[in-house]
Amino acid sequence: MAVNVGQKAPAFAGKAVVGGAFKDIKLEDYKGKWVVLWFYPLAFTPV
């Protein structure tokens, strides 16, 4: 596992869809808030 509990979360940045619009986001934007980062294999997968 590349990530461990108690360690800094790896920084990331990229293009996202937020409320129907494209937006550049980064982890740093969420400082001061809890973040649930969840990965999924592909859009339109129903599981």
Binding site: K8, A9, G14, K15, A16, G20, L37, P41
Partner: protein, 108 residues
């Protein structure tokens, strides 16, 4: 809340707007992040190098950017959203929560 996949931002936009299409979802008010380079999935250790897709990894990151909990499911096993919300509720209380703790129950 940030969802992340190796899809393009166009695919994610189509997904968010897909409504009742097969496998479609309703509008989200949080971010779906594109990881076309697959570097984010790789950094978090959830990239399936055989398929090139991310596994169903879930990371709870505290307000200081520190990982407090994570779980990883294979593509064929959907997450338990209640369990994730329970963990988030427990962690954000900042108090020890025993086995089978549920929101509203006493902490230690």
């Amino acid at each position: 809340m940030i969802g992340c996949s190796v899809d393009s931002w166009f695919a994610n936009k189509a997904w968010v707007e897909s409504g009742t299409l097969a496998g479609g979802i309703k509008k989200l008010d949080y971010a779906l992040l594109s990881d076309l380079s697959k570097n984010i999935a790789r950094d978090y250790g959830v990239l399936n190098e055989t398929t090139g897709f991310a596994m169903r990894g879930t990371f709870l990151i505290d307000p200081n950017g520190v990982v407090q909990a994570y779980s990883v499911n294979p593509a064929a096993l959907g997450r338990d959203v209640d369990a994730i919300l329970r963990d988030l509720a427990a962690l954000s209380l900042g108090k020890p929560c025993p086995v089978n703790w549920k929101p509203g129950k006493p902490t230690l």
